[in-house]
């Protein structure tokens, strides 16, 4: 790697991540430690870990890039990413924790007592996880190329390598610690340079904002391709409802000691996310002032990284760039390892362990299965990096939110609150949601820019798919009362009763 400060920052973040995992390895001894951190994580640290895991490439680079590019309408992305946790809090946080489920498939099986629903959910978790991993790897590629001229594949290779090492070696305990640290690395790496850049801009009477009306005023952007109101509302719905269906989010709730702690954790998460997203706007606005235009083919996602050199040429700019690059890599690594861990958990329980049990009769190491699954979990999206077109990062992760909102949101919401949900109803809804959402996403990605209602409905499909899936689940459940799990009432009691009564 080129001997630049930014390159050194990348190496440092990677080394610290691996070192923290190795430290965690000495602490995690039993298999249960690998999964759940022994359940001894305080709300404060758990919230930092959730924030650390959740703030991905899309948040660190993508949000500022999208606001830079589209203006005020893109402010809905960070708002939506945050509102998702409020919806999660009021609908599922405590019940999900009380269900004792570690992954979404666990919840589905515990609630519906059905192996087939479980397998369906497993497939969806792996799919959503892989889709969410792709933009992280893309981001690592173009970031490393920008700061050190490295080839585009080197960034993803680095991320995949570190993630496999830390996930396979440390398990959840170390990951929780690593993620909590990552949040503070990311916030400092974004906020401190933002303060410096703002001060320089202020002190040197830097360039003023020269922006179009459509950038400043809401709902008038040409980029929306028409039907802006529908697109905005549907996007907001996808982000708000999809968060609870993201595989790496749910796993975190198991590390809370009880339902009350799960709620306390979520409130703190909202604080941490708000702090972070307020800062991203600084980059978008300063970017408009210093970089009125980007060259052809330059990703708006790189605005955060290009700004220091424009504002503060020389050593100062290089130091800031190093901080930002380190923070960006912290974002790629933390989200990727969170996703990899979630996908690994599912692959291990539903694929690798059964296969291993068949191949090696009798005694086999459970930890070995976990490690094999970890490698598979990251290699598949790695192989897919080159295939996908370069979509803005914040828009790319939205695809995963859409699929999560169309499948897991109805399952969780009805599963937690409605005793009459039947196995057939859940299955029909999940299949409907998955087919429609994946279909819409595929058409949007493959067909590119078009206009009119058809495009608006396909590009932002959550507003019609989510209600439709809800109706399918309810109607089919009402038609198949024999498919209501026998223990449904008892499960619901457990989900909603405080632990001091049932435990």
């Amino acid at each position: 790697m080129a001997p630049s400060p930014a390159g050194a920052a990348v190496l440092l973040v990677c080394l610290v991540t691996v070192a923290l995992s190795a430290f965690g390895l000495r602490l995690s001894r039993r298999t249960s430690d690998f999964y759940v951190a022994g359940r001894a994580v305080s709300p404060q640290r758990n919230a930092a870990a959730i924030g650390g895991e959740y703030l991905s490439a899309a948040s660190f680079l993508g949000v500022a890039g999208l606001i830079y590019d589209q203006g005020v309408d893109a402010l809905w992305y960070p708002v939506g990413y945050t509102v998702g946790y409020l919806v999660l809090l009021v609908l599922v946080a405590a019940p999900l924790r009380r269900s004792g489920a570690y992954t979404l498939p666990d919840f589905a099986e515990a609630r519906l007592e059905s192996r087939s629903v479980r397998h369906l959910c497993s497939v969806l978790v792996v799919f959503i996880g892989w889709l969410y991993l792709l933009p992280q790897l893309q981001g690592a590629g173009f970031t490393l190329r920008l700061v050190s001229g490295a080839p585009l594949w080197l960034g993803p290779v680095l991320v995949v390598g570190v993630v496999v090492l830390s996930v396979a070696a440390g398990g959840m305990r170390s990951i929780t610690l690593v993620q909590a640290v990552q949040y503070w690395i990311k916030l400092s790496a974004l906020a401190i340079p933002a303060g410096v850049l703002l001060a320089v801009w202020w002190g040197t009477q830097g360039p003023g904002l020269e922006v179009t009306e459509s950038w400043v005023l809401p709902g008038s952007g040409p980029q929306t391709g028409g039907h802006g109101l529908y697109r905005t509302l549907s996007l907001l719905l996808a982000l708000a409802l999809g968060t609870m269906g993201l595989p790496h989010v749910v796993v975190r709730y198991y590390t809370n000691p009880d339902g009350t702690a799960a709620r306390a954790t979520t409130v703190r998460v909202l604080v941490l996310l708000g702090l972070f997203y307020v800062v991203t706007v600084v980059y978008a606005v300063l970017g408009r002032a210093y970089l009125p235009t980007l060259g052809p083919g330059v990703r708006a996602d790189t605005v955060v990284l290009r700004l220091p050199a424009e504002v503060l040429p020389g050593v100062g700019g290089e130091v800031l760039l190093a901080a930002l690059t380190g923070g960006a890599f912290a974002a790629f690594l933390s989200t990727s390892s969170g996703l990899a861990l979630a996908v690994t958990g599912v692959l291990n329980q539903d694929v690798v362990r059964p296969l291993l049990a068949r191949a090696v009769p009798g005694d086999h190491s459970e930890v070995a299965g976990f490690r094999i699954a970890a490698v598979v979990a990251v290699l598949v999206p790695f192989a897919g990096v080159g295939v996908f077109p370069e979509v803005p990062l914040a828009a790319f992760v939205t695809l995963a939110f859409v699929i999560a909102a169309s499948t897991f949101f109805p399952l969780l919401a009805l599963g937690v609150w409605w005793p009459r949900l039947s196995v057939q109803g859940a299955t029909a809804g999940l299949v409907t949601g998955a087919v429609l959402a994946i279909g819409a996403v595929a058409v949007t990605v493959l067909a590119g820019d078009r206009r009119g209602w058809a495009d608006a409905l396909l590009a932002q499909p959550a507003a019609w798919i989510v209600p439709l899936v809800g109706v399918v689940m309810v109607v089919v459940s009402l038609l198949t009362p024999q498919g209501i799990p026998r223990g449904a009432a008892r499960t619901l009691v457990r989900l909603h009763t405080p632990e001091d009564l049932t435990a």
């Binding site: 039993r30 298999t31 249960s32 999964y35 759940v36 005020v72 402010l75 809905w76 708002v79 945050t82 509102v83 946790y85 409020l86 919806v87 809090l89 009021v90 609908l91 405590a94 269900s99 004792g100 489920a101 570690y102 666990d106 099986e109 515990a110 400043v216 005023l217 809401p218 709902g219 802006g228 109101l229 905005t232 509302l233 907001l236 009350t260 709620r263 306390a264 979520t266 409130v267 909202l270 996310l273 708000g274 702090l275 997203y277 307020v278 706007v281 329980q349 459970e366 609150w417 009432a489 008892r490 619901l492 009691v493 457990r494 909603h496 009763t497 405080p498 009564l501 049932t502 435990a503």
Partner: protein
């Protein structure tokens, strides 16, 4: 454990339980009625579920009206888009900054309300 196993080997047990069953609740007799859904227990649960659901839906409805109302307002009343405060269109400080403390406040309020409902249930169950 088979008989005749030396004690030092007996101590080594491979724990292979799946996490699925990890948190099955162990019940205290106290809350048996509640968990078994017999008689009064069923009534408590129905009340609890209804109270919690009403609270949750109330928060979500408020959220939908306030947040969803912003783009709807701008679409219905285009003049509102360019309302300015100190030279800045008001939508910027609202969506970029103010929305976050509001979300945190709502979350904190909800958490207190939900916990209060649960405490009330616990108190009733204990009295029995």
């Amino acid at each position: 454990m088979s008989e005749g196993t030396p004690p030092h080997l007996e101590a080594r047990v491979r724990v292979t339980s799946s996490r699925r069953e990890a948190a099955t609740a162990r019940r205290r007799p106290m809350a048996a009625a509640l968990v078994e859904q017999t008689g009064a227990g069923e009534l408590y649960l129905r009340g609890l579920l209804r109270a919690q659901l009403r609270l949750a839906l109330g928060v979500l409805a408020g959220l939908a009206v306030v947040l969803g109302g912003i783009p709807v307002l701008y679409a219905v009343l285009p003049a509102a888009r360019s309302v300015q405060v100190a030279g800045v269109p008001v939508v910027w400080p609202v969506l970029a900054v103010l929305v976050y403390p509001v979300l945190v406040a709502v979350a904190a309020w909800y958490t207190r309300a939900a916990t209060r409902i649960e405490r009330r249930l616990s108190a009733v169950a204990r009295e029995r």
